[in-house]
Symmetry: C2
Subunit: 500 residues, 2 copies
């Protein structure tokens, strides 16, 4: 029995090495690989992905997991290994139903489709991407047919990114948000807007990198267990809790974008850096629930980062690194980072209208997988929904349906995670205020580490061992609800825009 567990651990170490290599090849592809090196790097990603898939669905692993699942052996495991064995067995049972050759062609199509999407976006020509999108939709259906034969396709996808979620729950949450936020945004748009002309200027990317370092250290990112890179789109990736990497993109005309990307990715990274070390390189380590993950990045980005008091202890330092901000007071800065406007690009949206960007994508995905709307009709549907929620219509598909990369690698069902994250944040904020006191005061007094510590202890350390529902229940003691988020929005923006 002991031996079987040891054998499993050894096997997992091997799998971890292949996973490390896949993560590293991808990281390098985004941060460093020169143009002419792409093809061979992509080949290697394909090869090692197939090897890792083979190892994760092998008869040997299956046998080990079966042995450890037998009652007597299972009962002798500690809680962590009980979780690992149960979770791996579930995943293996699903994954081994995927034919190996289908898996390989799926991985290849993800790469090919990603290239087509980039070209389509650059040329703002949806027709370049359309056949690949269609193929990926079909392959996604086929894939969930193997892994979740008893589930409706879109619910299977939602569950894949946020275990336990389905469209019935999400419909309820998002409808409530729509009901409350549409009138709120309408009022704001008609109210007096802050003057953003003072923010125009040139911000040296090297200076922005120094600000990023300052902000990451301020919120608690550990550079001993982390690194930074530069990419077209910011992201976070990790090998274990000991090596977590964030990237950023620096715009020469806009320093605010990279600041908030740094705080957002920093939130993801702090989460991963605080997962229990003993979970490293197992399915217990890292957090595989994207709603919970986004709740942490968005808590730092929005609940903390867009709070004026967050900046009180550091604003002077930021200004000293970015001299272009010298004539801008903290009050003006605070107004600008909460400037609500109807805009085309999700990533640049304020925290309030951001909700509509997600609801739109969620409804699009339902249209694709439930209503079987043909691919060629999707741009029109997108634009209609933009008009409905934000009263604007994209000039072209690059600022419309082609803006995000998610669908190009088959990540259907991911988008709702962002808004679920914010919904959870409303609940976490309530709880933190209850337990630690008023967060305005905590932030103003430079005690942000107390909040990070609370999040570490209550959420981060558990990695994947608690499902989203378990996290919410353990932390908040209630069912998930959009009400706290709505209350937070109303209080903040009614005051900010002097609506009452």
């Amino acid at each position: 029995m002991k031996e079987t567990l040891e054998e499993l651990k050894e096997y997992l170490e091997k799998i971890a090495k292949y996973n490390r290599v896949i993560i590293l090849l991808n990281w390098d592809m985004e941060t460093c690989t020169p143009k002419l090196g792409f093809d061979k790097q992509a080949d290697a990603i394909g090869y090692f992905s197939a090897e890792a898939f083979r190892l994760s669905t092998s008869d040997k692993l299956e046998k080990l997991l079966e042995q450890l699942s037998e009652k007597e052996e299972y009962d002798s495991l500690d809680e962590t290994w009980k979780f690992i064995v149960k979770r791996m067995k579930r995943d293996l049972d699903k994954d081994k139903r995927i034919p190996a050759d289908f898996y390989e062609s799926y991985v290849r199509e993800q790469a090919v489709s990603g290239n087509a999407w980039r070209e389509a976006k650059n040329k703002s020509d949806f027709s370049i991407f359309a056949p690949h999108l269609e193929k990926l939709i079909e392959m996604t259906k086929e894939k969930t047919g193997y892994t979740d034969p008893d589930k409706e396709v879109y619910d299977a996808l939602l569950d894949q990114y946020e275990e336990g979620m389905n469209s019935e729950i999400i419909d309820g949450l998002f409808e409530e948000l729509k009901k409350e936020l549409i009138p709120l945004v309408q009022k704001i748009i008609q109210a007096k807007q802050p003057d953003d002309s003072k923010f125009k200027g040139y911000y040296d990317p090297d200076d922005q990198k120094k600000v990023q370092k300052l902000l990451l250290e301020y919120i608690g990112f550990s550079f001993d267990a982390g690194a930074v890179g530069e990419t077209e789109h910011p992201f976070t990736t990790n090998f274990s809790s000991k090596d977590v990497r964030v990237t950023n993109h620096y715009y020469e005309q806009d320093a605010i974008s990279a600041m908030f990307s740094a705080i957002h990715e920093g939130g993801h990274a702090i989460f991963e850096q605080h997962v229990k070390e003993e979970f490293d390189e197992t399915v217990a380590g890292s957090c595989c629930y994207m709603g919970i993950h986004e709740s942490q990045s968005r808590f730092y980005e929005n609940i903390l980062g867009r709070n004026k008091n967050f900046w009180v202890p550091v604003y002077d330092k930021v200004v000293s690194l970015l001299p272009q901000l010298q004539n801008i007071s903290l009050d003006e800065f605070y107004r600008e980072i909460n400037h609500v406007r109807n805009s085309f690009i999700r990533c640049d949206a304020d925290e309030l209208t951001y909700c509509f960007h997600i609801i739109l994508r969620y409804e699009m995905e339902k249209a694709i997988f439930r209503d079987h709307v043909p691919v060629e009709e999707l741009p029109k549907l997108w634009n209609e929904k933009m008009q409905e929620y934000l009263q604007i219509t994209p000039k072209n598909d690059a600022e419309g349906i082609l803006q995000d990369m998610h669908w190009s690698d088959g990540s259907f069902g991911y988008f709702p995670s962002y808004l679920l994250g914010s919904i959870y944040d409303g609940m976490f904020l309530e709880k933190i205020s209850e337990e630690l006191g008023d967060i305005d005061t905590i932030l103003k007094e430079g005690r942000i580490q107390e909040i990070t510590k609370w999040l570490n202890e209550n959420i981060h350390q558990y990695g994947s061992t608690r499902t989203p529902q378990e996290v919410i229940h353990e932390v908040c003691g209630k069912e998930v609800s959009a009400k706290p988020l709505i209350r937070y929005f109303k209080e903040k923006y009614e005051k900010l825009y002097e609506l009452v």
Copy 2:
């Protein structure tokens, strides 16, 4: 037959993927991995190195190579594949005599020893490194015992880095250099030295990076097939001719160091970027002869980079990126980059006294492997030789025997390559001047690309398919000789220091 070759090609593609991963893990370890991530990354390097070794010494590969070596099959191969089959068969015959478990412990000792060396250097305490150095020396002897049972150990090591070289040839070359250069340097040291006080200042590493980009582009480095990184020590690494990476280290008090490291590593990289594409990811691609490789990096660094005319087309641009140089004329800059002085650190030495740094290390290595001088006596021997050649004695071992990393990973026999490179450079310079005309004029007129093209065509494209001796014969039509280098030194420095 055709099938066998196809099978070999397929097998090589697989080996190439493992080699890619090893190169990438090492690159990432140096450029990016955070401190707490080292251990797991090192484990992965060990694992994939063992896998690659297993693939490169497998019975399957042996059988394929044997089949292709049979007369009829061999004769039907083109020249490239003849070379590949012959070279791989030779390497496999050597490598498969290394016991797999010995190889694994050797790779592990390299890593462990590297860490011990770093600590020893930081604390300037040779005793921390000594037991590892001793172990590596023993393991190196054991390893060459397997690979080259019929060769004397040190000659086997020299041959490993520069095929065809042995200590008899090197003794002859280095003795001639000593005879001519010792009196030359003596005269220079007593002559009037340039004033370097104007160079003191703060040079922002971000500015230095911009200068590096300018210089790399100027000499012909392709960013489409290359990338740059930042590390403790500069180096070049490559996956293929399509992805070649250089690193640099930026000193805040000294901009010249990073400029010349950029040009040096750029020389290595330009070499690799111009190896014939069809050789990629085979033993024909890349250049495995370190003397020839160093000849190219040092040609750019010294023969071109330390020539005043190299700077004529770009000096103004460099100054505009490094405002601290504004008060320094090109003449003053030229004097400083050729400032001869007896100093402790090889990497910071001028091109002339650099020769003694190498001769010293070569003699140390002979003392280790020929005279069996015990490890604990090596620091004393080092210091005596420093006194003999440079009339200075290191204050501590950090600026003495511990300064270089080479021995810490078992690279015994590498050092002579640097000076062999310079010796070849003297010969190449003669030939280029004959064929293209006076290089002062070429450089001054901004036609450096003509020199790069000449090197591409005459040297780079052949990768590993021509041995060092073949390169010298094909390019220069004569035996290797130190005379052209000596002539270059004398002409340049007698003029520079007004010795005649």
